[in-house]
Symmetry: C2
């Protein structure tokens, strides 16, 4: 499949590399088509399946778009590609983190509690189909859940479009997620819940000094 990965940080690199490993074609998108990190990503993955471009190039290229930009820049990044977003599935793995008040970060007030970044993206780009998932864990686990606990821990999924969610769940299963561990919470308003995982995630990380953990629902 042709997949866009927006963002050149650790999350984008991890997801992009894993998608290539699985045989997909990946275009890493960034603000500028000449981004050095995106060029390095392409150079690190010879064979012609990795490409780089501006956000708009990447979105035009991909059937599925992974939003791995920083939460406070996601709307702007997607806006620069909005002419190509129609009917595209956006897998939103970002979080609306606010680092302006020191560590650990809090959530951007206008995008938390009674709102969420996932909803804001869906509202701003109604032509796209936003599926929020994977945003509650370290990126190494996103693409390789079997790294811990035999892969038995929970990944939340939400979004308004059932077909888009089915497509994303199928891709998640390629990453190694068992369907029983994909908990579909319903529509995109549930991003208010999954983005609220960050405040507890950050504190568990700080207390345990280990980011390779995830939450599992026990019942």
């Amino acid at each position: 499949m042709k997949i866009a990965v927006l963002g050149t940080g650790t999350v984008g690199n991890t997801i992009g590399s894993r998608l290539l490993e699985l045989g997909h074609e990946v275009m890493m998108g960034s603000r500028s088509a000449q981004n050095e990190k995106a060029a390095a990503f392409v150079a690190n993955h010879p064979g012609g399946k990795a490409q780089a471009g501006a956000f708009a190039d990447a979105v035009a290229f991909g059937e599925i778009i992974f939003n791995c930009t920083k939460g406070d820049g996601s709307i702007e990044a997607l806006r620069s590609a909005e002419n190509h977003l129609a009917e595209k599935v956006i897998v939103d793995v970002s979080n609306p983190l606010d680092f302006s008040r020191g560590m650990p970060p809090s959530l951007i007030p206008s995008l938390s509690n009674t709102h969420s970044l996932g909803e804001e993206i869906q509202k701003t780009f109604p032509q796209a189909k936003v599926v929020k998932t994977l945003n509650t864990m370290w990126c190494g686990l996103m693409v390789n859940p079997n790294m811990i606990g035999g892969g038995d821990h929970t990944n939340f999924v939400c979004g308004n479009d059932e077909e888009a969610k089915a497509k994303v769940k199928s891709l998640l299963q390629e990453f190694g997620w068992k369907s029983d561990n994909l908990l579909d919470l319903g529509d995109i308003t549930n991003a208010r819940g999954t983005e609220a995982v960050l405040p507890i995630w950050l504190r568990v990380w700080s207390a345990t000094q280990n980011g390779a953990f995830n939450f599992k629902i026990i019942s």
Copy 2:
């Protein structure tokens, strides 16, 4: 031990009943010493170990105070007992839920994200020692963790006073919590994390139609 349980709802009844079962003396506190639900709690537990009184009576009675009042009324409830709070350990199991915008509830804006109810209680009553715990699950599990998953799931603890936390952890072990499953996050500011579990808790509950679940940290 003499223990106060503030609040006459399901949480207060569940915790109070369990404490009595474990052999403790319990005074249920409410706004009025003549509260009917508190009287029913006493009547349902004959033998003289259950009592009822105003919030101030209960706090004066208990070495440990469980705050099981509704989050939006906790400060007011504790204020009516503040002359007796010196050196008392407050186990704060409440959550700052805001039902004014419909279901599921959100968090009270001024007590979330960059603040928390646990911190507000500690700041308002510096003479007391606040330990936040148990607020991330259904009350049946709070007092009987072995009901699911062999008891192997996570209960977060935070607070500024090490001695108070040790006392509370010991009581949690009487409830059935294994010490390995008590995750001490540090000081009371970590209540910003544990109270932020509610938005995801409420949505998992809604999606699964089962409140008898908890989160377990897998690593």
